[in-house]
């Protein structure tokens, strides 16, 4: 039985199980009930946690942009999100004519579910996690793919050409950035030899951000793109298209796309800290799991804050730039990083095996760091030539079909008689 003070989550889980067993229920039923309760707490918890996230995001966004952010309702405007929630709950659902009812209503639910499902495998502490699936990392990627589907469904069922166009742009972006995401996730799996997220955390004696910095950076960038945040917020680029795939939604259905969005931003930070920053690892976290939770939340908050800084300070990419970044930079670099790491690590493994364990770890870390640096150096050399080769055509001076500029007047020769 875990100690309550060192491991409240494990204690509560054990206590609950023992309580049910004490009532004389069979073991299978107890497990089932424990699963339902655990899943319910995680799902409902994540949904309500979103309220806090919305407040945090608005507050931090406000401070970044030299505003105050919400500050009227409650202390520091904390209750603002609750008030907004109440408001959105009492909004009317405007369902346009000609929508495909079932698909239309399913899409926002799916977009939230696709994010919440990620929480099922995240290890919060050594003992507190939904489920340590043995294909955890692939599960994360697979669930991410459901978001694409929800966007297609939303765009298509709205019976609106702007929604459809927005949906297709969004999906083109999402599926493009899923490629480097998937490839960069190979490196944690490779270095830890497991797809269980808890095992990956355990394997990070040296956090993977040190041994695989390129993968970490690519994961971070493509996650932001998956989330559809600035500077990759092409899917809701309100100055270019009519807000994207969700124009025909209203009330809470509209809100759910944003619930998914806000929650996703935090989930990304959690995943980053689990996969690359060592999750709950830290001094004393093995003995006192609650400390692990604190470490995890600190790391997550740092990443979350970083994501918000990126969001609120960078301008939007143009869509062709965005696609170029993905296909011509991130994907080849990610592939290159995987290949180089695999090659170098294997090539030096025999040599390192002859040294002492501690020295071996240090040397391996250094070698991998240098390898990553080399990959980046080679890549920047190659990419530089590829990326700069084709500039966008300058159309400013060419004749255009509409709004043709006046033919330039003949240059006025200065004549002798005129004095200006």
């Amino acid at each position: 039985m875990p100690n309550f003070w060192s491991d409240p989550f494990g204690f509560l889980i054990q206590w609950f199980n023992n309580l049910l067993l004490g009532w004389g229920l069979p073991g299978g039923t107890v497990q089932f009930i424990a699963y339902v309760v655990g899943a319910f707490i995680l799902v409902a918890g994540s949904l309500f946690f979103c309220l806090l996230l919305i407040w945090a995001e608005r507050k931090i966004g406000g401070r970044v942009q030299d505003r105050l952010g919400p500050n009227r309702v409650g202390p520091f405007g904390l209750v603002q999100a609750v008030a907004d929630m109440l408001k959105i709950f009492t909004k009317e659902f405007v369902t346009p004519d000609g929508v495909d009812k079932v698909v239309y209503n399913l899409a926002p639910i799916m977009s939230v579910a696709a994010v919440i499902l990620l929480w099922a495998v995240i290890p919060f502490t050594i003992t507190f996690y939904g489920n340590d699936l043995n294909v955890g990392v692939l599960y994360l990627v697979a669930v991410g793919g459901l978001a694409d589907l929800s966007i297609v469904m939303a765009g298509w069922s709205s019976n609106n050409k702007f929604a459809l166009l927005g949906a297709f742009r969004a999906v083109a972006q999402l599926i493009s950035y899923e490629v480097p995401l998937v490839i960069s996730l190979l490196l944690p799996v490779m270095l830890s030899g497991s797809m269980k997220l808890n095992e990956i955390v355990r394997a990070q004696d040296v956090p993977f951000i040190v041994t695989a910095p390129i993968a970490a950076a690519i994961f971070f960038i493509s996650s932001i793109a998956e989330n559809g945040r600035a500077p990759f917020d092409l899917m809701e680029a309100e100055s270019e298209i009519v807000a994207g795939f969700n124009v025909e939604y209203s009330g809470l259905k509209f809100g759910f796309f944003f619930v998914g969005d806000f929650l996703h931003a935090f989930t990304i930070a959690m995943l980053f800290s689990v996969l690359f920053l060592g999750g709950w690892r830290g001094p004393g976290a093995d003995q006192i799991p609650i400390l692990g939770f604190v470490y995890m939340m600190i790391k997550t908050s740092i990443m979350y804050f970083l994501g918000l800084l990126v969001r609120f300070s960078l301008p939007r990419f143009r869509i062709d730039q965005m696609m170029n970044i993905n296909w011509k930079m991130l994907t080849p670099i990610a592939l290159g990083a995987v290949m180089a790491t695999a090659f170098v690590d294997k090539a030096t493994a025999n040599v390192l095996a002859t040294t002492t364990p501690v020295l071996g770890v240090i040397l391996r870390t250094l070698i991998l760091l240098v390898t990553n640096g080399m990959v980046l150096w080679v890549a920047s050399d190659l990419m530089g030539s590829v990326l700069t080769r084709k500039e966008r055509r300058v159309v400013a001076l060419e004749a255009r079909p509409v709004a043709r500029p006046e033919p330039p007047a003949a240059p006025i020769e200065p004549t002798e008689g005129e004095v200006s």
């Binding site: 995680l42 489920n131 692939l138 019976n159 083109a172 599926i175 809470l252 296909w327």
Partner: protein
């Protein structure tokens, strides 16, 4: 292993069910006053022009295509990465060859210019 999936299944049901309940509650709480104007398709306030189902460029299809190929690649690369620590040097070079072949496909796509947004 089955119990793991049982949990994921329950989680999946709940993560669909709770938002659905929220939407139903919001539907009950909210007013319901539809009108033809309100329910018309949104098009910046003007009347809908043209057919709804516009045509798309083949561009989108190419992105999905490259994505599909790299997605299928994961079926092979993830088990390989999982077993990386137990492999010999030769086995790793095989996987690198695998990646190189796919990189060739990507380079073809880039050189062909189909990944360029037009």
């Amino acid at each position: 292993m089955l119990s793991d999936w049982m949990y994921i299944g329950i989680f999946m049901l709940l993560s669909v069910f709770l938002p659905a309940v929220a939407i139903v509650i919001a539907g009950i709480l909210g007013p319901k006053k539809p009108s033809p104007i309100k329910n018309s398709t949104y098009e910046c306030g003007i009347e809908t022009v043209g057919e709804t189902w516009v045509q798309f460029k083949a561009q989108y299809y190419v992105y999905a295509l490259v994505f599909l190929v790299f997605d299928v690649e994961t079926i092979f690369l993830y088990p390989w990465a999982l077993a990386y620590n137990q492999q010999t040097f030769f086995m790793v070079t095989e996987a690198i060859l695998f990646i190189l072949i796919l990189l060739g496909g990507l380079i073809y796509a880039i050189r062909k210019g189909v990944l360029e947004w037009q």
